[in-house]
Symmetry: C3
Subunit: 343 residues, 3 copies
């Protein structure tokens, strides 16, 4: 559904330099946009593509406007405005309310008349589905499950145990929420299972990527606060709490009972051990190993980047002698000092 | 179902200091327990919560009993006794045997009359389900699959190829057992698939967390021995063997043909390369990189914890010059020795 | 279905030393083979098993033939020939074309008459299934999905959004292709979703392991070229491109917009950050951290192998002082030079 460019500018703000009557039907990169497509320039890395763009218009900052060969839409934050325009041009697919005849809904389940439940879904007797909710095909909700207003489970999502999903959430395929946490007591060389009886509580406006797992709490609950964004294949252990508007990239694992603050940005493949406290506004770069609490906002990192294999072998061998190397440096320093004292 | 405290003490052992007539209906943390709830103190980290607890009773060690403001249940290992009491108070949900009318069971499948098969399950013609087994909704068992007595597949579990699951196992949603291992022969810049014809053999009393994958063997079998506990999102490659009562935390990957001994404890996000031998009673801390066999019991580690980004950058840059730094220290030492010899 | 050994040699090449009339009914390791089983010796690690093998025949190189106690099949590349023979002896299970009565196929879906669709599958109205395709039980295809000739979705595969799967692909259970990439614009401490409108394009002869996720592109497409082999639990971010015949081992994550060349071999648990370029013919060893582009073929590594915990603690502590240690070495060197100059 195309929109007049001038109307979009009126709706989302900024200043137009060029023809506002242009229809905007879609979005694309500077490099690939053409016809009725809007593009944007937010990252200087892509500046080189600006002068050759064939976009209908480009969202950009004042300092880039002079070089724009097509209609320029000047805003302070092109990426955020681009996001809003894109949401407007590409709304979530509409659906017709109802229960697919090939869904299985047990007696006792409560499903709002404005919700949709897809084929091959299973909704157990203690499931409660709110208004405007979309449950895509192949989802299994077995346990005490609540999904609030306007949330979407894309497809093949599994919710078990006790799970509350807030409003306007988007849960991607393969997610498993509410499975037992990993709790065992050692007992003479074997393991005794600790029953996991807590819930998973997901706030509003949370998005969770494909194949991510969030375990139910052991005794208390696992809590994901409003606006959290989790990427694919993330593991959230039992009793973890994640503060509002924190974003975590793919394949990161958070072990049990750790509390992460609000507005954190955590990279991919990070490992965070259990029972830690990470304060608000902490950034952690990808592949970091977090073994102690982080009590102050800031950027934190660990890990050693790749190098040529032969050099890696030498450095890794030296690393294993690092304690010895430090001792040798100390002896050299002492020897120098002794010499000084012996003068 | 509430139990009299004195009856629990009789059943599970230990000494009671206080009122044995108290009913115990549930379990909770020291911090949150109240009413008819039992709590426990096993980790000194939580000792500070003891004096304010409002639990009906607390499982603890002799040395903590004096400070307990409520009824004390004194045992040698509070965590293990807590596990047993919790299992008693929170037994696995009972089920009524039978096959859900919306399950698909192919002719030839054998399902014990005391087993349950949930909605939207698929059981192929070579599936064999033992007595007391629970197959939750949305499970797919396609191939030569055996599930032995009293095991539970929570929901959305996929077993393919040739898979044997032992007795009293608990398999969480999203697990995939029996998919092909990653076996290819290089051939002029392309890859030739090696057919994977081995099985997955899972012992008794094994628990496997959500979205964990265990590949079938290439020629021989992949074997998970009795009492092994695997957390979420673990990857077990083809032909791996894991010894009895070994526990592995989330997101760890074990590459093909590696053999891990009995009673090992392996942290999360560990990577173990293929064709290694890890002996019995080995502990490996989280995020470790295991590239060689470990032949002696003990605790093993690698990885560098997170630090402030600016410091990380400096240290990581130095790391890449480590071999050079070691050479420079050697030259300094030689210079010192030469000076000595020249005296 | 047993084959005469001599016939296999005629079909796959090489020289026979021994009885060609032996029937070959299966394959096995040197250690376990017996009766009518063919084995192979490709890795010197297993040479010790050769002299005791009871295989019907062994595929091996000329230099190993003299020590073979049974019929020797001499070839230049035993592993590649073994792969071909194994494929011949263990072909993919045949199936009868048709749609299982318990599959759900929406009006509008196009399914070739020679394809198979299993029980509990869901195929939406824009799904297009080519000739000879096998869609195993429990698969969900919801969106604009094309699966080309002779591909197999083993079971429980979820394809959403816009996904094209090429010919002769093999996709293992739990895979999710086409979920939204992780794209958000920061906006006053919250996150604005960037609609993800690109596709996932998978070439021909691609194999993808269990629970691997491949996200749809943001604006452009995510592209996996012909002959790529991906192991289990791999994460491929939006807009990633992977060149032909590249193989990636389990649990590796490739962040958004990175381009990996052709014929690369990437180990398990590797993390590759976004917006990088990895050239053709690059090898990266397991658990490496790739934070910069790699522009030349070669072998690249990072990561520090496991050591005894006590030693690890000392070395890790020294690592955190590495920048300081390097400064101290510099001062020692300067002191030495000063002494020299002061002579």
């Amino acid at each position: 559904m195309a929109r007049r460019l001038a109307d979009l500018v009126t709706e989302f703000g900024g200043v137009l330099r060029g023809d506002g009557s242009t229809p905007i039907a879609g979005i694309a990169t500077l490099n690939q946009a053409g016809g009725a497509e809007l593009s944007f320039l937010a990252n200087t890395h892509y500046h080189r593509y600006l002068k050759h763009t064939r976009a209908a218009a480009v969202l950009l900052r004042e300092q880039d406007a002079a070089e724009c060969p097509v209609t320029a839409w000047v805003v302070q934050d092109p990426y955020a405005v681009f996001a809003r325009v894109a949401q407007c041009l590409y709304p979530a697919a509409p659906f017709t309310a109802g229960i697919h005849p090939r869904a299985v809904v047990e007696p006792g389940a409560s499903i709002d008349a404005t919700a949709y439940v897809g084929a091959n879904c299973y909704l157990g007797s203690e499931v409660n589905i709110g208004p405007g909710v979309y449950i895509g095909p192949g989802c299994t909700l077995s346990g005490r499950i609540t999904v609030a207003r306007d949330s979407r489970l894309a497809a093949s999502v599994t919710l078990v145990g006790t799970v509350q999903v807030g409003a306007r959430c988007l849960i991607h395929p393969g997610c498993v929420f509410g499975a037992d946490g990993f709790g065992f007591a050692p007992d003479h060389g074997e393991w005794l299972k600790i029953p996991q009886i807590g819930a998973v509580i997901i706030g509003n406006d949370v998005e969770v990527g494909a194949n991510t797992t969030i375990d139910r709490g052991a005794l208390e609950d696992t809590v994901i606060h409003d606006g959290v964004k989790l990427d694919n294949q993330i593991q959230i252990g039992h009793n973890v709490q994640i503060g509002a508007h924190t974003a975590i990239a793919a394949c990161t694992a958070v072990a049990g009972s750790t509390r992460i603050g609000a507005r954190c940005a955590i990279g991919g493949c990070v490992g965070i051990v259990g029972h830690l406290e990470i304060s608000d506004d902490v950034q952690i770069t990808g592949m970091s190993m977090v073994t102690h609490s982080i009590r102050h906002p800031g950027v934190y990192s660990s890990g050693i980047p790749v190098e040529e294999n032969a050099k890696w072998k030498r450095n890794a061998a030296r690393y294993r002698q690092l304690d010895d190397l430090a001792d040798r440096v100390r002896r050299l320093e002492t020897a120098g000092t002794d010499k000084l004292h012996n003068k």
